[in-house]
């Protein structure tokens, strides 16, 4: 694979084999651009839906309701059937001017040249550290992404009775992951006076028997080896202790844009996302970005799929010299 990746100048290299990246690849291929490669650092393509073991995925793309893993498999399969080159275990380590990428693969380090690069590296939740939450650093603190990967990919759990922080769409998904894994959250905290996505949260918290505390923020995480509890404060500054064995920080998505920040590309200091022009191009016109890396707030897979398609049409025109 290394020789193949190195051997030619690719028309398009796509970083990230999630919904946005694969949708762009499929769109480009169908438009007759054959010389494309999808680079993914994982062992399997599909992106984050691989570990979202719940429906609904795929309504927009396949007209039917799938679970995340089934959806991930399906989009990867679709790309493969079109003979799209998907290079797995390929970690892009730097973006260089004019579409040159450094890539680490188990076989060794290589450089790859592409006429256009699409950055579709997605998003992740803000971890506890970047939220500046007081307290120690016991085990049992994680994000939804880590929880879901543990439950759906590795059949293990990090806690049994966590406090869940946040009420975004992902928090809803986190509660269902808990239910499926036999985890019983003891409380759901929202700092604002109402939940971000009120009805789904109200509904899922209700059926799971989890109490939703609005206007309640986490003050301190307690515990040495493992989490033993959290101190929380309500809108009136009234503090109380909730016993638990974990803290699940959900949402507050930030772009997975470390590569961009370390590169020559300009990014928006407020959001962390790369700065794009009206065509979805970065400050170096060889680079494009699509999917959740540029979506704030974070979007569902179907929207990223759509967004990848749009980016692909721009790239197609660009390659044909018809963009500007």
């Amino acid at each position: 694979m290394n020789d193949k990746l190195r051997s030619e100048t690719w028309d398009v290299a796509i970083i990230g084999g999630g919904p946005a990246g694969l949708s762009a690849a499929i769109t480009l291929k169908k438009a007759g651009i054959n010389n494309i490669v999808v680079l993914d650092r994982e062992n399997e393509a599909g992106g984050v839906p691989r570990h979202c073991g719940h429906p609904p995925f795929g309504i927009r793309e396949f007209g039917r309701i799938l679970t995340g893993p089934a959806y991930a498999k399906r989009i990867a399969e679709t790309a493969r059937q079109l003979n799209i080159e998907i290079a797995l275990q390929s970690s892009v380590t730097s973006l260089k001017p004019e579409g040159k990428l450094s890539i680490l693969r188990p076989e060794g380090e290589i450089e790859l040249q592409a006429k256009r690069v699409l950055i579709a590296t997605g998003t992740r939740e803000t971890p506890r550290s970047a939220r500046f939450v007081s307290g120690g650093r016991p085990l049992g603190i994680c994000n939804t992404g880590a929880l879901q990967a543990m439950v759906y990919l590795k059949n293990t759990i990090p806690f049994k009775r966590p406090v869940v922080i946040g009420t975004e769409i992902v928090s809803f998904s986190a509660l269902f992951t808990c239910k499926r894994a036999g985890i019983k959250p003891v409380a759901l905290l929202e700092e604002e006076s109402k939940a971000s996505v009120f009805w789904p949260i109200q509904y899922s918290a209700g059926i799971l028997g989890v109490s939703l505390y609005r206007q309640t923020g986490i003050v301190e995480i307690l515990g040495k080896e493992r989490v033993t509890g959290v101190r929380v404060s309500d809108g009136n500054g009234q503090e109380r202790l909730i016993e638990c064995d974990g803290v699940l920080f959900t949402g507050k998505f930030v772009p997975e844009a470390g590569l961009v920040h370390m590169s020559h590309l300009k990014s928006d200091p407020a959001t962390g996302a790369p700065i794009l022009d009206q065509y979805g191009r970065c400050s170096d016109k060889a680079y494009y970005a699509a999917g959740n890396i540029i979506k704030n707030p974070v979007k569902v897979a179907g929207t990223c799929w759509q967004n990848g398609k749009i980016a692909a049409t721009k790239i197609e025109k660009d390659l044909a010299g018809q963009l500007d």
């Binding site: 971890p127 550290s129 650093r137 992404g145």
Partner: protein, 479 residues
């Protein structure tokens, strides 16, 4: 998943009466000082054992130091600390390459931000020159700007300390201990020393794991140095007054904003809040200096972290909006007095190294020589090992080739820090295997990057299943 801990330490299992080791020297405490001391004594030809109460080394003060290799320019003149820092600095430079330990030659700037600090700067310069750090010099504002173009305009003057460097705070002590073990030493973990008796020629130490017989004991128990002396002698000449220091670690992208260690003009009490690049390619600010009673409460608090971050932005305006990767706190082993508290009981062959604060990472190698000198004065007579084994530790420094740059690493487990499966497997095995998740993090950097385990926790739980007493995964996710 099983929560059964494997026997991952090179120790014998046994009841509290089992004699675990019968050696010349027992070193109590697996911090940087203990590791440095046991290395020197093993090289000197003594039979040694290092006894640590936690499951891995560096569980106390040493896990939270600021990773600077000091020159001793601001150490108390003529003090043992000054002497050990200078010796330690020199020895580190001699040995680091042979052990594959990294060195980031950053240099430091002692920056004055007010007229008062500017005035004090001259005293600092004089003290430094008197301390034998002869390459210090005052920089003009223009010189400061050329070295540190991103530093805020408020900086008035600075002293350049060319040989203050940045090193790996965790691989360094590990390398020291590995060298002791490779040259005949042993290490016991989960073996808290609870008491001891001296029979006129030997110590019999009681530990949580069994007994250890030794001719000499070196107390390097750090935050518990006083309580160990109390447990054995009923009293201690000093009292540990734990001093917490919180840190904020900024994203790797921030590291391009600063080249040197930016030190404040030191006060009597503390070296103050420092802004510095790390060997791992991040940028950090800290530590605070907060007195507290607890010796193990390394919690952070929101207000302090916000204060640190804003202080960093004041010094380095381009840092505004830069993502924060991690926050943590370390606890320093302060005592009632500023100086090192070295207590030698030559009647009973016991040496206590107490109150070794932030300079310990540098001074450990110098302290180790000091201990050997003391032992020789006490009549110990060892014959140094000829051609000692020199172990190499895996490189974690960002500016040097990492394991992922060598083909055949199988898989990148942690993408933020580019940690390979091969590295993790190696850290879980070997002569001093990681004893806990945090020990594994310190050995490999797994989960320590910008996503803090969002992507790799699950895989890490799988790879470490059954290895640690406190595991990441605590049960099955049943359908």
């Amino acid at each position: 998943m099983t929560t059964q801990k494997q026997n991952t330490t090179n120790t014998q299992q046994g009841s509290s009466n089992t004699l675990l080791a019968d050696v010349d020297i027992a070193v109590v405490g697996g911090g940087v000082v203990g590791c440095g001391v046991v290395r020197r004594l093993a090289l000197a030809g003594a039979s040694t054992v290092l006894i640590e109460k936690a499951a891995d080394i560096l569980d106390g003060a040493s896990k939270g130091n600021s990773a600077i290799l000091h020159t001793g320019f601001d150490a108390p003149p003529g003090s043992l600390e000054w002497e050990c820092v200078q010796k330690g600095h020199a020895e580190y430079l001699e040995i680091h390459e042979s052990m594959n330990l990294p060195l980031l030659k950053t240099g430091a700037l002692v920056a004055a931000w007010s007229t008062d600090e500017e005035e004090r700067l001259h005293g600092v310069l004089k003290k430094g020159l008197n301390n034998g750090v002869e390459d210090l010099c005052l920089l003009s504002q223009a010189e400061i700007k050329s070295r540190e173009p991103h530093l805020a305009d408020g900086v008035r003057a600075a002293i350049h300390v060319p040989r203050e460097y940045v090193i790996d705070p965790w691989s360094t002590p590990l390398a020291y201990l590995l060298q002791a073990v490779d040259n005949g030493g042993r290490a016991l973990f989960n073996a808290e020393v609870t008491g001891g008796e001296y029979d006129g020629s030997h110590w019999l130490l009681k530990t949580a794991k069994g007994k250890v017989r030794a001719r000499y004991v070196i107390n390097c128990a750090g935050l518990y140095g006083d309580t160990l002396d109390q447990a054995v002698f009923g009293e201690s000449e000093f009292t540990i007054m734990p001093r917490k220091g919180q840190f904020v670690v900024f994203d790797m992208a921030a590291s391009k904003l600063v080249n040197s260690v930016i030190l404040p003009v030191p006060s009597e009490r503390t070296k103050g809040i420092v802004l510095f690049p790390t060997i791992f390619g991040n940028m950090m600010v800290g530590p605070t200096a907060e007195e507290q009673d607890s010796r193990d409460d390394a919690s952070v608090d929101k207000e302090t972290l916000e204060m640190l971050a804003s202080k960093a932005v004041n010094m380095l305006p381009a840092l505004a909006g830069m993502p924060v990767t991690a926050t943590y706190a370390g606890i320093r082993t302060a005592t009632e007095r500023k100086e090192y508290r070295i207590i030698t009981d030559s009647e009973r062959n016991w040496i206590t190294l107490g109150g070794i604060r932030s300079t310990g990472l540098t001074s450990a190698l110098g302290l180790a020589h000091h201990v050997l000198d003391l032992l020789n004065e006490m009549g110990a007579d060892f014959t140094a090992i000829t051609n000692p084994v020199v172990p190499q530790v895996p490189n974690l420094a960002e500016h040097l080739p990492r394991d992922c740059h060598k083909p055949g690493f199988e898989e990148i487990v942690c993408h933020c820090e580019m940690v390979t499966k091969r590295e993790i497997d190696a850290a879980l095995g070997g002569k001093i295997p990681a004893g806990s998740i945090s020990g594994l993090k310190r050995r490999t950097r797994v989960t320590m990057g910008r996503c803090q385990g969002f992507y790799c926790s699950a895989r890490l739980a799988e790879l470490t299943e059954g290895k640690f007493e406190t595991p990441l995964g605590i049960g099955d996710a049943h359908e």
